[in-house]
């Protein structure tokens, strides 16, 4: 679960050390041809907020969003375990799901115990909809065929020919795939060599590795401009499922590419051996 800390006008459980207690969510999803099920088990340990939920003054809110299909909806419940169904036709590619506890009405003089000392003695007027606790957010790819544990690189990275005859390679993150644009001269050489198994290690290390590391840096950053792009969701899902979400980008990229540096040197050695053999 990722959490974006924010500055709220009142103490919020889960927002740093605003409030003592726990709000976490055990989340899983099930994809079927007809529906996507969001299955949530909420773990809440905060007397004040538990009391508000019991009285119907606050609810668990699950907010689901899919940029590809312009879908955004919120589900509300007061049960500690619940399941929410979304028709499959409303979702495509990356779906993000956020977890909150929000007030259902105005609450005067809100003063939860275990507040950070900065809030000591203060009372707050809570409005309908105000966030009282945040449980973070996560994302998944709403596509049954996509396996983040064995992702084909071509599903989110493309190498294409640019408009310049020579010059440096450029990266375009604004497409559905991370698009690596090579000059016409470089692209011709790329096409002539890419199918040769002996050079694939070199290509991965010299072209794909730096780009992938940079892309991971973008995924790990907050408020990325590219969060709605298909490649972003796929890469995020791969990082999550391989347990790489908190690794440095360069290290994570090397794990995804399966030791590109070692394969790079193997490629170089094999080419050198081939040339030496030819000279004999």
């Amino acid at each position: 679960m990722k959490i974006n800390l924010k500055s709220y006008p009142h103490p919020v459980l889960g927002n740093g050390d605003d409030l003592g207690g726990v709000f976490s969510v055990d989340f899983r999803y099930e994809l079927s041809k007809q529906d996507v099920a969001l299955i949530c088990v909420f773990d809440l340990k905060s007397k004040a907020i538990e009391e508000l939920i019991k009285k119907g003054k606050a609810s668990f809110i699950v907010e689901a969003e899919c940029a590809s299909t312009f879908y955004r909806n919120a589900f509300s419940t007061q049960k500690t375990a619940d399941k929410f169904i979304i028709p499959s036709k409303l979702l495509r590619e990356r779906v993000t799901v956020g977890f909150y506890i929000c007030s259902n009405e105005e609450i005067a003089n809100y003063q939860p115990s275990d507040c950070h000392p900065d809030y000591k003695g203060l009372k707050f007027d809570i409005e309908n909809g105000d966030v009282l606790a945040m449980g973070g957010y996560c994302s998944f790819i709403a596509e049954k065929e996509f396996d983040p544990m064995r992702p084909p690189l071509s599903s989110f990275v493309a190498v294409v020919e640019g408009i310049r005859h020579t010059g440096p390679m450029e990266i375009d993150y604004s497409s559905d795939k991370i698009t690596i644009e090579l000059s016409k001269a470089d692209y011709k050489n790329y096409c002539d060599t890419v199918r040769e198994k002996a050079v694939q290690g070199v290509i991965h290390a010299s072209i794909v590795l730096p780009v992938l590391a940079d892309a991971i840096y973008q995924v790990n950053g907050r408020d990325s401009d590219h969060a709605d792009r298909n490649w972003f969701g796929r890469l995020e899902s791969i990082l999550e499922s391989k347990g790489l979400a908190h690794k440095p980008p360069l290290e994570a990229a090397q794990i995804i590419l399966e030791s590109p540096m070692a394969r790079n040197f193997e490629s170089i050695l094999s080419l050198l051996n081939f040339n030496n053999t030819e000279e004999v």
């Binding site: 006008p9 299909t69 955004r72 966030v131 709605d228």
Partner: protein, 267 residues
Amino acid sequence: MKNKQNNLKIFRSVAVDQLRADLRSSKSFKSYYEEQFQVKQKDLLVTNIAIQEKLPTLKIPKGDPASADLENAIALHEYFKIDEMQASDPRFWVYLSHVLFRKYTLARWGIKENHDDLKDDPTKLRAAINQVLEHWFGTGGDLKGLRRHSLARLWWAAHLTYAPWEKDPEFFGGMKKDDPYYFTKTLLYTQDIYQTLLERGMGRSSKILISILDYLDKNKKFTDNRENIRRLAKELNLVYGVKKIIALDRQSLQGLIKKIAEEIMEQ
């Protein structure tokens, strides 16, 4: 006589990738000035989308380029009875802009500069190619991109605002109108309303989108100042940061929008 039904063909993914690659490398750039487009049968895929044989005629505006957007949006939405997943598939829209509605796309979103003035200037050429990628391909493969696609933008404008009282009777029940495209008219009233409301994530919520449009519709004095609409969207976005306005009931949400709009008017 009943109009004959066919199944729509669209481009295969590999064909879309090739079209995009050929454009990026500028190889096919000149063809984006031409009305003719050669479709190879091997590049096509038959879908299960049933369409009438006779395509709708999209109006090509003479003066204000956006003047026919509403009429064209309704025509496309009435004709293509597709679901959200189909309507977010770039292969579908790329086929429509390149083949079925090429003339419209050229007229509405064609490149204005002369080809000879662009071809030897890499910076200008890149900008023109990006413009074609936006309006003919819907760069990005998501709605942020499709929002700029010549045809997807129109279909989605109609779809997101079509008879909300049918999609969510519980929330929008009291807002029923005779015209199912009532709120489409407000969304496409100016290009600015469309851009401002759909460029933000909160515009993806039909509850929020329709509630804002309802306010704009009832308060023309507020709506006629585009700066007001921008500020309203910005302020609501800020509030969304601390308050899950998407979870509010209709009355509370409408009250909040009204309160923020009145504060803007007072300043």
